[in-house]
Amino acid sequence: MTADVLGAASAGLVSCTACRLLSQPAVAAEPGYCPRCGAELVARHPRSIEYTWALVIAAAILYIPANALPVLTTTTLGSEESDTIISGVIFLYQTGSWFLALIVLVASVMIPLGKLVALSYLCISVQRGSVKNNHDRTRLYRLVELIGRWSMLDVFVDAFIVALVQLKPLMSVEPGSGVVYFMAVVVLTMLAAQSFDPRLIWDHGSDARGRHG
């Protein structure tokens, strides 16, 4: 088989995104509905790149208050102490749990940033009609989809600390204003990954003849 075979869409076929039945609509531009599962047929996610860019840019903007504002405020006998995501990681590191500090650092800082960079790169390479590194780009997309959910970690950590440490007036923890921005970054980057259509990577062909990635 040759590596520059084009996708089903270029042969006038539409693959159902829900049940994967391969249909051959009479008019390729208006495929209608899947005869098996009834889902609306689309050759590619409509406006995939535009939606992905919009969500990536929104997430990048919200990433700033998510890190600058405190996510937790601890009140102990009248004295208040606020923690941002980074200072929470430093606190874990200083109290001796360097392994946990690393987990939180990866989930809360590196995964969201990595997703923004990776999705931007995927969008740019598709817009430039790149035919290079298709295997690597497809693998990068799968990785983004697979690990994206783990950045929700810090939101769960904050929620359960707030829920448990409520011993007023002795000691209590309140959520800071940053936690809602951080949650929004995670949700928006997940939606951005879902709106990107990986089949666009292959639509301009591939230069990897006979290569197995």
């Binding site: 075979v5 996708g7 089903a8 869409a9 042969a11 076929l13 693959s15 829900a18 049940c19 994967r20 039945l21 391969l22 249909s23 051959q24 609509p25 009479a26 209608g32 509905y33 899947c34 005869p35 098996r36 599962c37 009834g38 102990t76 606190f91 874990l92 109290t95 749990s97 987990i103 295997h135 497809t138 799968r142 959910r149 783990w150 929700m152 970690l153 769960f156 950590v157 904050d158 929620a159 359960f160 600390i161 707030v162 829920a163 448990l164 440490v165 409520q166 011993l167 002795l170 000691m171 959520p175 809602v180 949650m183 949700v187 879902q194 990986p198 089949r199 639509d203 197995h212 990635g213």
Partner: protein, 222 residues
């Protein structure tokens, strides 16, 4: 509308059309171009995930009713449950965060389990009615937002962070969440939704073609 033979499909990741050869029980097929796994033939695709989903439903109930962890400091004690995490966030004025936590921790996993249970019961005797297709699509929508494993790690990190401030004791809820994570992973590993599609009545009113016990990969002329 014309459709192609059921053993022909396009890769969901790169759109390459290809014919899936008959797969042995437990076998899987990868895309010829991008190497994504595009077809599986689980050896017991209905009864095994059904049994695991029933178990997951029971454990889900336990995990959501039992305390996750308790705290004691200078003679005072407190406990929390999963929904307690979302509830306190709401009370403290972070309503959107509370909704996200509630959705990812309770509603999405619960919805996924409930829809899967209904779908698997309905397709035991094919052809299953059309609404099964809608439920299956809902279950697929819920799946990426069902974050039990992320929540479990979050609970453990919270436990260790709080232990710097006060004494914490893990509750039955934590162990239940751990078992739930394993069960849902087992459901995902034994279930293949394309087996269900071969047993559901078509949207255009026709019955699923061929012997319903024939897996998708065995191919039926279109």
């Amino acid at each position: 509308m014309r459709h192609l033979a059921l053993d022909t499909m396009a890769c969901p990741d790169c759109d390459l059309p290809q014919t899936i050869p008959p797969l042995p029980p437990g076998g899987s097929a990868r895309c010829a171009r991008c190497h994504e796994t595009i077809a599986r033939n689980p050896s017991d695709p209905i009864e095994r995930p059904l049994a695991l989903t029933v178990a997951a439903a029971i454990v889900f109930f336990v995990a959501n009713t039992m305390p996750l962890m308790g705290l004691s400091a200078v003679g005072r004690e407190a406990t929390t449950t999963i929904i307690g995490g979302a509830h306190q966030m709401w009370l403290e004025g972070s309503e959107l965060t509370a909704l996200a936590v509630g959705f990812c921790a309770v509603i999405a996993p619960g919805g996924y389990i409930a829809f899967m249970l209904t779908v698997l019961l309905a397709v035991r005797h094919p052809p299953a009615p059309r609404w099964v297709a809608d439920l299956l699509r809902f279950a697929a929508f819920m799946q990426p937002w069902s974050m039990n494993e992320v929540m479990l790690l979050g609970i453990l990190v919270a436990l260790i962070k709080i232990s710097q401030l006060a004494e914490v004791v893990p509750g039955i809820g934590i162990y239940s969440v751990g078992v739930l994570v394993l069960l849902l992973a087992a459901v995902a590993a034994t279930f293949d939704r394309h087996v269900v599609w071969t047993r559901v009545e078509w949207a255009d009113g026709t019955l699923p073609p061929g012997d319903p016990d024939t897996p998708l990969a065995a191919g039926v002329p279109g």
